[in-house]
């Protein structure tokens, strides 16, 4: 089965990048929406949640329109940076990141809102700067909720199909991710290949869940301490 390892590797690469992007943008947006008061906050929240409810093919189409070579943004990316997102693995990352975005920013916002503001006030009076207080108090207290969101985002990005197919296509070894390879295998009647791919995907998903459970900070330390 030639398509298996490149597809697996590509899916992991795309999901990892999409998760890293959302770690920064999703968590940042969640924090902004939890703390900042500005007009249009609810409208922004709704807009940013749209990828969760819109069909991935519709999202993919929007992306094609937005970053395609003939669009303003796509043309600028191509002419000045030499970047072409369509039919590239970077395009697959973009699609997966956008589809998974609400899964990070929603729980992140909720987690930040649940942090007791009195603890932040205490940190201020103790002389700690706003930036340090974010990293030393707010983020650690919100981290478990954020981690749950990141995990969902990773799983969603791993399984991304519709938007990725629209933007990146299905080029074996280049943009053909696991999900797309499964679809192609079934379409071509290659049942053995499809079985293999499905099992591999399932195993990766289970492994990711177990790993995330292990990495959850605080839990282990506190259980040890309670003894």
């Amino acid at each position: 089965m030639d398509a298996l390892w490149p597809a697996l590797f590509l899916s992991l690469k795309v999901a990892c990048w999409a998760t890293i992007i959302n770690l920064v943008l999703g968590v940042g947006t969640g924090y902004l929406l939890a703390r900042a008061r500005f007009p249009g906050r609810d409208v922004l929240d709704t807009l940013l949640t749209l990828p969760m409810v819109m069909p991935p093919t519709v999202l993919g189409y929007y992306l094609l329109v937005l970053v395609g070579r003939r669009s303003w943004l796509g043309g600028w990316l191509h002419d000045t940076l030499g970047v072409n997102l369509i039919f590239s693995w970077q395009g697959a990352v973009l699609a997966a990141a956008i589809v998974a975005f609400p899964l990070v920013f929603k729980p992140a916002r909720a987690a930040f809102e649940s942090v007791d503001s009195q603890l932040e006030q205490a940190a201020r009076v103790l002389g700690v700067s706003e930036l340090a207080l974010f990293f030393r108090v707010t983020l650690p207290l919100a981290w478990r909720g954020i981690l749950a969101g990141l995990l969902l985002a990773f799983a969603r990005a791993m399984g991304e199909f519709g938007a990725t197919l629209m933007v990146a296509g299905s080029i074996p070894g280049k943009t053909q991710t696991l999900s797309i390879a499964i679809y192609e295998a079934v379409q071509a009647g290659q049942d053995d290949a499809a079985n293999q791919l499905v099992l591999i995907t399932s195993a990766v998903c289970v492994a990711a869940l177990l790993l995330a459970g292990r990495l959850a900070p605080g839990r282990l330390a506190r259980e040890e301490n309670a003894r």
Binding site: L119, F135, R136
Partner: protein, 238 residues
């Protein structure tokens, strides 16, 4: 402690709600602001710490202007050099007692490591008799231990004054008496000026070198004078 404070703040829509208008001036080391709940005690204390910005007025402490609406001065809480003991202590739940006490000693982006030992932290752990709880988390402590930990964290950075928000309200009667005596001793030893807010006249009797009575957002001067004239009158309320 030379404290000169006059703050105004209107809460609620169009100033229809609560009006805070507190003026007080003192040279005492121990000031107690006494009043029923809803009198504006917490707001006054928060204004001193920089956690609430008044609409107008000034706050001067030992020659330093912390807030002055006329000249546009409003120091952030980080620069006021004060300590604040919250009513429910506000210990950081994700940090051990040692890490909590070490918190104000570090300015960077990271908390003290779990295993680290700072002489100042160890000193305060011993001084407040909580050395054995150093590696525990706040949720594993008793009420009295929590208060001691919070007190250690407040004092470790050598504040110019300590602000206490109903420090004994969450404790049972026996523990309340112990902690009162403890705070009394600590304050005398360290000579750190304190402002304590409470609804309990007994606190005022123990700590009130000067007692300020607050009612409906204003200083109730005649009542405070009457209280000062008869210190026994304070405890008879209890």
């Amino acid at each position: 402690m030379k404290l000169d404070l006059h703050i105004r703040r209107a809460l609620g829509k169009d100033g229809q709600g609560f009006q805070l208008d507190v003026a007080l001036r003192t040279d005492c080391q121990r000031v107690v602001i006494l009043g029923p709940s809803g009198a504006g005690k917490s707001l006054t204390l928060k204004a001193m710490a920089g956690l609430m910005t008044p609409d107008a007025g000034h706050i001067r402490l030992d020659g330093r202007t912390l807030f002055d609406s006329a000249s546009g001065v409003n120091l952030p809480p980080q620069q006021r050099g004060l300590a604040y003991l919250f009513q429910d202590y506000a210990l950081f739940p994700h940090l051990t007692v040692r890490q909590n006490i070490a918190f104000p000693l570090r300015r960077g982006l990271f908390n003290a490591a779990k295993g680290s030992r700072d002489p100042a932290v160890e000193h305060w752990l011993t001084a407040l008799d909580i050395a054995r709880t150093g590696d525990l988390y706040p949720e594993q402590l008793s009420g009295g231990q929590r208060q001691r930990a919070a007190l250690a964290r407040a004092l470790v950075a050598r504040p110019q004054a300590i602000l206490l928000d109903e420090p004994f309200a969450a404790l049972d009667q026996a523990l309340r008496d112990t902690m009162r005596a403890e705070l009394d001793r600590l304050q005398r030893e360290l000579r750190v000026p304190m402002v304590l807010i409470t609804h309990d006249p007994e606190d005022a009797a123990v700590f009130g070198q000067q007692v300020v009575l607050l009612r409906d957002g204003r200083v109730d001067t005649p009542a405070a004078q009457a209280l000062a004239a008869s210190p026994q009158g304070a405890s008879s309320h209890a």
